[in-house]
């Protein structure tokens, strides 16, 4: 530990590692971070130190970056520990920010998840009825594994969060800019979304927009997508209008519609409801039967609307645990 260096920690909860790759993707800047900061914990990169973190004074860390959702008790425990030991806690990436794609599990139940994985899949050992259990006896001793929660939470469901850095994963240049701001001591007001724009993704999208009037929705597999025109105007569902920009519009630039990973714009509580509002406003019909036919072109709207934000939606889940 060096007195004049920033003290920082990075941690993952229920995550895929993509957020850590986003940090790695800042390339040689990693060496600058190491020069400016003592990385006290980063399980993927340096010695993880639960015990060291526990032994710290409260607020001893200048910055803790938490990626991943909260899926089990250990995620929650470490989130609380890092909150107590850090001056600034950042929810990094879609999962910590909104719940992320693992949050789609809130549309099903724990029993269904376990049943699928261990009882019903076609490659399971014939006749197997075994389920992993939190405690099992082996050799007269007990083996334990965590029981996961019935649903997925976002980070600020379990601890107060100072900043949100959105994206799945956050764009590397945005990560770099935010870390540079931290090193320079130039932080915005607490509660801010950082490393992103305050305008909709459409503002950054190079596709040509005209009037949006839609008679038919197409799924991406059904048509050859025009390389230049707005995807929504082509009848391809795109979450760009209700999604915060800042990612560089990577998906629509590659012919792929936005699914909303940077989350809602300021002032929007429920990103999915906003998408519903945006979609119905562009349907070009007054005839109820035709409207129904057009809407039928969007199966699983819930899965689109809350692709990254189910745990942060008003309903949070489809089934009350």
């Amino acid at each position: 530990m060096t007195a004049d260096k920033l003290q920082i920690a990075l941690y993952w909860g229920a995550a895929c590692g993509g957020c850590d790759v986003a940090v790695l993707d800042t390339d040689a800047f990693i060496l600058d971070i190491a020069a400016a900061a003592d990385i006290r914990m980063w399980p993927i990169a340096v010695d993880g130190k639960y015990a060291d973190i526990e032994a710290m004074e409260d607020a001893e860390l200048d910055l803790a970056i938490f990626n991943g959702a909260v899926r089990n008790s250990e995620n929650e425990h470490i989130a609380k520990l890092l909150r107590a030991k850090s001056k600034v806690l950042v929810a990094f990436g879609s999962c910590a920010h909104l719940g992320g794609i693992p949050g789609l599990a809130n549309l099903t139940t724990r029993d269904e998840i376990l049943g699928t994985a261990y009882l019903h899949n076609p490659s399971l050992e014939k006749g197997s009825k075994t389920l992993p259990v939190p405690e099992s006896g082996v050799n007269g001793s007990t083996l334990t594994i965590p029981a996961f929660y019935k649903r997925v939470y976002k980070l600020d469901d379990v601890v107060p969060v100072d900043y949100y850095l959105p994206g799945c994963p956050p764009a590397a240049d945005q990560v770099k800019a935010v870390l540079q701001a931290v090193i320079a001591g130039e932080l915005p007001p607490p509660g801010s979304v950082v490393g992103a724009s305050d305008k909709a993704l459409c503002e950054d999208c190079v596709r040509v927009k005209s009037e949006k009037r839609i008679k038919q929705f197409h799924r991406p597999w059904q048509i050859m997508i025009d390389p230049d025109a707005c995807l929504l105007e082509q009848g391809v569902l795109c979450a760009g209008p209700v999604t915060r920009g800042g990612c560089g519009a990577r998906c629509p630039s590659s012919g792929i519609p936005c699914r909303g990973c940077y989350g809602p714009l300021d002032g929007v509580v429920d990103q999915g409801a906003k998408l519903l509002s945006a979609v119905v406003s562009v349907i070009d019909s007054q005839d109820p039967a035709e409207i129904e036919r057009i809407i039928d072109g969007l199966p699983d709207f819930t899965g689109f609307a809350y692709r990254f934000s189910m745990p942060s939606s008003l309903l949070q889940r489809s089934v009350r645990p």
């Binding site: 941690y11 909860g13 229920a14 995550a15 895929c16 590692g17 993509g18 957020c19 850590d20 790759v21 986003a22 790695l24 993707d25 390339d27 040689a28 990693i30 060496l31 190491a34 399980p43 993927i44 990169a45 340096v46 010695d47 993880g48 639960y50 060291d52 089990n72 250990e74 789609l104 549309l107 269904e112 049943g115 699928t116 490659s123 050992e125 014939k126 197997s128 389920l131 992993p132 259990v133 099992s136 082996v138 050799n139 083996l143 996961f148 799945c168 994963p169 799924r219 991406p220 597999w221 390389p227 990577r250 630039s253 590659s254 012919g255 792929i256 990973c261 199966p299 699983d300 899965g303």
Partner: protein, 488 residues
Amino acid sequence: MSRKICIDPITRLEGHGKIEIFLDDQGAVEDCFFQIPELRGFERFVVGRPIEELPRLVTRICGVCPASHHMASAKAVDGCFGGEVAPLAVKLRRMYYNAHYIHSHIAHFYALAAPDFVLGPDADPAIRNVLGVVAKVGLEIGGAVIASRSKAQEIQRIIGGRSTQDIWCIPGGVAKGLKPEELKEIRPMVADLLEFTQFSLQLFRDVVLANPTYLDLIANGPYTLDVHNMGLVDSNDAPDFYDGQVRVVDFEGKELHRYEAKDYAEYVAEHVEPWTYLKFPYLKQRGWKGFKEGIDTSIYCATPLARLNVAERMATPKAQEAFEEMFATIGGHPSRLLLAQHWARLVEMVQNAETLQLYCDDPEITGDAYRVIPQHVTGEGIGIVEAMRGTLTHHYTCDANAICTSANLIVGTTNNNAPIQMVTKKVAGTLIRPGVEPDQGILNMIEMAFRAFDPCYSCATHSLPGEMPLRVRVHRGGEVTHEFRRGC
């Protein structure tokens, strides 16, 4: 009274891995359990989603090797629409995947494995990480490693729009083609990467092979298992990472199975234990026989070394040279020396770089016919690719409206769950001696057993380096009698 050593937490396995070692009265290892407490439930929550969305959902299984899931998923989804894919799209997907392989293998070799060899298995844990490696080998080499991984990522971004959390594959092909100006941008990077693979092989010779201690550790250490090998091969029995037939070869070199992706469920089955969330695949036709080595075992490895073991040759010339050199040095083909995985990873990197070069030189690669529109929903698809960490299977079904009705995934590292259990126990049993308390060096030697597999339980372990923080507690009855810490 027997004792228990608990290694917990093993944070580079997504923070939730744990090893429990049981000792008998004399202090010898009686049993050992490698537990994975992670489950996120992708197989269930993709059900009900439009099938074409799956390739961009399942990438979140692993943010370090998302392209593997993206490709296996894309192939399974293609199958749900009858399987027709634009031939150019197959080339582009392969090209993209070659770049992804290079990125991932660089990350593993330099950041995760290298600290053990460049700095030594018993080096000070405080420096036994990637920053320590950079300090030892110098900023010039460190910078070249960072730049090379970055180029491999950038090539994917140029071809497919993004490098992490891929979006590009859609039914019948890909969402964008490769423009001539993009190819021009890629070419010099590919040339650099090819050179970097040769540099890496030389580094391995200089640092590892020139050191008799390391060579002895690889050849004569406890890091061997008598289990079988699995991997994809092309029509010439060379490794194929994107497609081909699955070949299973026993540890003496005899072919046990050869099958098409669609038949996977006839050859592989999964065993469940109550003490871990991760299942144990095995060769179905032999049945589950427990964690046992030997010629009759049903356990197999699916790793870089396993892929080279099931292959008769490499697909490209420089890779072939590296393949021959490796097997000549480690005592013949196939090999059971698990630490040779690290070398095998470099050999694979060469083939990927050479293949990437071939695609760059393909006059058709910048064409426009990168997609066909599917005409029918046929309802079922199975996609197999070689993820960096093992054979990866995605099996989907969908309804007439192309909505997913089921998903079964057998993920790369899952194949190796049983071998990792077994080798961890073997290495612990060899190194933990009665009357001698295990020290930090021994703990790292235990880690090196599973690190050879580059385990990717949720894809955390392999991205960056060094030292897996371990806490070992020796229990006697209900009391902790000793506690060892290494990095935690």
